[in-house]
Amino acid sequence: MTQNGDNLLSIRNLTTHFFTEQGVVKAVQDVSYDIARGKTLAVVGESGCGKSVTAMSVMQLIPWPPGKIVGGEIIFDGEALLEATDERMREIRGNDIAMIFQEPMTSLNPVFTVGNQIVEAVKLHQKDKADQAWDIAIDMMKKVGIADPERRVREYPHQMSGGMRQRVMIAMSLCCSPSLLIADEPTTALDVTIQAQILDLLRDLQRQNGMSIMMITHDLGVVAENADDVVVMYASRVVETGTAKNVFNNPLHPYTQGLLQSLPRLGEKKERLDVIGGNVPNPLNFPSGCKFHTRCPIGCKDTKCRTQEPPLKEVTPGRQVACWHAEGYTETK
C-alpha cells in the first residue's frame, strides 16, 4: 500500500451486513484499504468472501432491505461518500467512479442498441455534450478496439460476442472519464485469448488517462500480471495486503500461502497439488476467533486462534497481515 496521502479511495473499517430471515449475514467486517492514484489494486478472494460487497458498498448499491452498511468510512478524493446525499451519489456514480461487471451478457439491455446505451450514459452525465453524444460513443468504441464502430454502434448486444460486449461495457464506463474504475471479475466469463486482449486494453487506457482501477478477481494469475497492490480477503475480512510482488513472493498469511501453493502452474511438474482442507465457511455461521482457523495448519491447534480474532496490523511498511502466527506480527501495535 502506498503510504503517502496520495490515495484516491480510502476505505476505513467498513462493515456491511445483510439482515436475512435466516439471520445476519456479516458479509463485510471491518475492512480497510486504500487505492493509490493511477494504480491498480486487486482484491482477491473466494466466492462469498465479501470482495464484491465491498465494491458495491463503495458505489452504495447495496440493496436495502436486506443489506446495509452499518459502519465505517469511505473517503473518495477527500469526500466522505457515506455522508453524501443520494443526489450527490448519483453524480459520482458514472462520472467519477464507474463499474464493469463479470457478465457482459446480462449487464447490457437486450432491447436497445449498444450505441443507445452508451449515448444514454453520456447524456445523463455530461448534459452539455448531449448533441455530440453519438460521436462520443463512436469515438469510445474505437478507443476500446471495436473495428468498424460506425456500423457496430447500431447493433444489439446479442449480435456481439462476449469479448465485444465486454468492450462495449468498458466503453460505456469510460465515456465520462472516471478517476476510479471498479472492475468486478471483468474477464472471468471470457476465453484466455480474449482475456489477454481485454486486460491489455485496460492497461493501455489506464496509461492514457491515469485512472485507478479496483480489480476484483479470484484469478491469481490475472492479479500477478496486472495489479500494483493486492488485498486478500477471507470470510468477510482483509487478511493480508501489500504490493503484488511482496504478496506473491513472500505471502505472510497461511491462507495466502495455501492459495498460492494449491494452484496448478504451467510447467511445474508436481505429482500432487497441495490443498487447503475443508470448505469455504458459510457467512451465516462463521467460525469463532480467526475465521481461517478451521482450515489452517497452525490455527487448528492453537486456542488463541480459535477464540481471538487477530486484527489487521502493519508488519513492515506497506505490508499488513491479520494472523497471530505471521512473521513479524506483534500483539501490541
Binding site: 466466492s47 484466455v192 485469448t193 484469478d219 494469475g221 503484488a244 494452484l263 496448478p264 482450515r295
Partner: protein, 324 residues
C-alpha cells in the same frame, strides 16, 4: 501411443453437425460444424486432456460420445466394441454402465428435490444393480470414498457447498463402477482452494479404480497437471496432439503457442513474451477457408487460406504445415 498398452477408447473421424433451419418451411440452410473430424485414442487408465476455447466443440465431443447428441459421422470404439452401432435404448443403457459423465455446474447438475442417497443410488436402481439395504451400503461406501460422510446421505443438494456438490457428482458417476469417465469442465466452477481438492480426489480415484478419463477443460494449467496426453481443439478440429510434456515444453501449432502464452501466471513482473491474438473465434457455421485459424494466425500465408490442414505426425501430431 506406440507401446503395447491397450487403447480403451478409440474415436475416429467424429463429426457432429447441427442443422441451421430457417424460413417458413423450416428448411435446413446450413450446418454448424461443431465437431468436424476429430480422432483420438486413450489408453486404459490414462487421461486425455481436451482443451480449447468456448465454442471449439470440446464439450460436444464428450456429449456425442455419451450419445446425448446424435453423431453425424465417425466411429467410437470402446474396449473393442463399436459404440455407435448400438441403436436400441437397451443397448445404450448398457453402454452407460461402462461410460459415465461428470458435469461442470455443481449447482445445475444435481436434482434439488432428491436426497444425496437417491441421487447417487438412482443409477443402481435403474440398472438393477442394487436395492434396499445393499444400495444404501454401496452409496455410503461411495460417499465416504469421495470424502463426505454417512450423515450427508439424507440431505439435499442445497445444503452443500460447490466443492461438496462436485464430490456428490463424482460419487454418482462412480455408482455403476464405470471404466471410463467423461469429465466436462469438472473444476472450472469451483473456488481455487477447492479446485485442488477435487483434482487430487480425481487422481486418487483413478489410481485406485484404474479409471480412464477424458478431461474436457479450458484451463491449461489444470489440464497440464492431470493429463497424460493433451489434444488442443480449435473450431471443431484437433490442431495439436501429443503427450503432456512434449506439448507443453514444445508447442508447435501457432494456436497452442498463443494459448499458452496468454495464460496469466501467478508470478509478478515475470518477463514473458505474450502472443496476443487479434480477432475472435469465427462462427463454426461459417468457418474460414483453408486452415480455420488463418485469420488470427501470426504466421499465416497465402497457402493457409486455401489448403485444409490435417493432423499429421507420429507421436506429436500437428495440423499446420509451417509447424512441421
Amino acid at each position: 501411443m506406440s507401446d503395447a498398452k491397450k487403447n480403451l477408447v478409440e474415436v475416429k473421424d467424429l463429426k457432429t453437425h447441427f442443422p441451421i433451419r430457417a424460413g417458413l418451411l423450416n428448411k435446413t440452410v446450413g450446418h454448424v460444424k461443431a465437431v468436424d473430424g476429430v480422432s483420438f485414442s486413450i489408453e486404459e487408465g490414462k487421461t486425455l486432456g481436451l482443451v480449447g476455447e468456448s465454442g471449439c466443440g470440446k464439450t460436444t465431443v464428450g456429449r456425442t460420445m455419451m450419445r446425448l447428441i446424435p453423431k453425424t459421422d465417425g466411429s467410437f470404439s470402446f474396449d473393442g466394441e463399436e459404440m455407435f452401432a448400438f441403436t436400441t435404448a437397451g443397448q445404450i443403457k448398457q453402454m452407460r454402465r461402462e461410460i459415465q459423465m461428470m458435469f461442470q455446474d455443481p449447482y445445475g447438475s444435481l436434482n434439488p428435490r432428491m436426497t444425496v442417497e437417491s441421487i447417487v443410488g438412482e443409477a443402481m436402481t435403474v440398472h438393477r444393480v442394487a436395492s434396499g439395504k445393499d444400495r444404501r451400503d454401496r452409496v455410503a461406501n461411495l460417499i465416504e470414498k469421495v470424502g463426505l460422510s454417512v450423515q450427508h446421505l439424507n440431505r439435499y443438494p442445497h445444503e452443500f457447498s460447490g466443492g461438496q456438490r462436485q464430490r456428490i457428482g463424482i460419487a454418482r458417476a462412480l455408482a455403476l463402477e464405470p471404466k471410463f469417465i467423461i469429465c466436462d469442465e469438472p473444476v472450472s466452477a469451483l473456488d481455487v482452494s477447492i479446485q485442488s481438492q477435487i483434482i487430487n480426489l480425481m487422481q486418487d480415484l483413478q489410481a485406485e479404480l484404474g479409471l480412464t478419463y477424458l478431461f474436457v477443460a479450458h484451463d491449461l494449467a489444470v489440464v497440464e497437471h492431470i493429463s497424460d496426453y493433451v489434444a488442443v481443439m480449435y473450431l471443431g478440429r484437433i490442431v495439436e496432439y501429443a503427450d503432456r510434456d512434449t506439448l507443453y515444453d514444445n508447442p508447435l501449432h501457432p494456436y497452442t503457442q498463443a494459448l499458452l502464452s496468454a495464460i496469466p501466471e501467478p508470478i509478478p513482473n515475470k518477463d514473458k513474451k505474450r502472443i496476443v491474438l487479434g480477432g475472435e473465434v469465427p462462427s463454426p457455421s461459417n468457418p474460414p477457408s483453408g486452415c480455420p485459424f488463418h485469420p488470427r494466425c501470426p504466421l499465416a500465408e497465402e497457402r493457409c487460406k486455401e489448403e485444409v490442414q490435417t493432423l499429421e505426425g507420429a507421436d506429436h501430431k500437428v495440423a499446420c504445415w509451417k509447424a512441421r
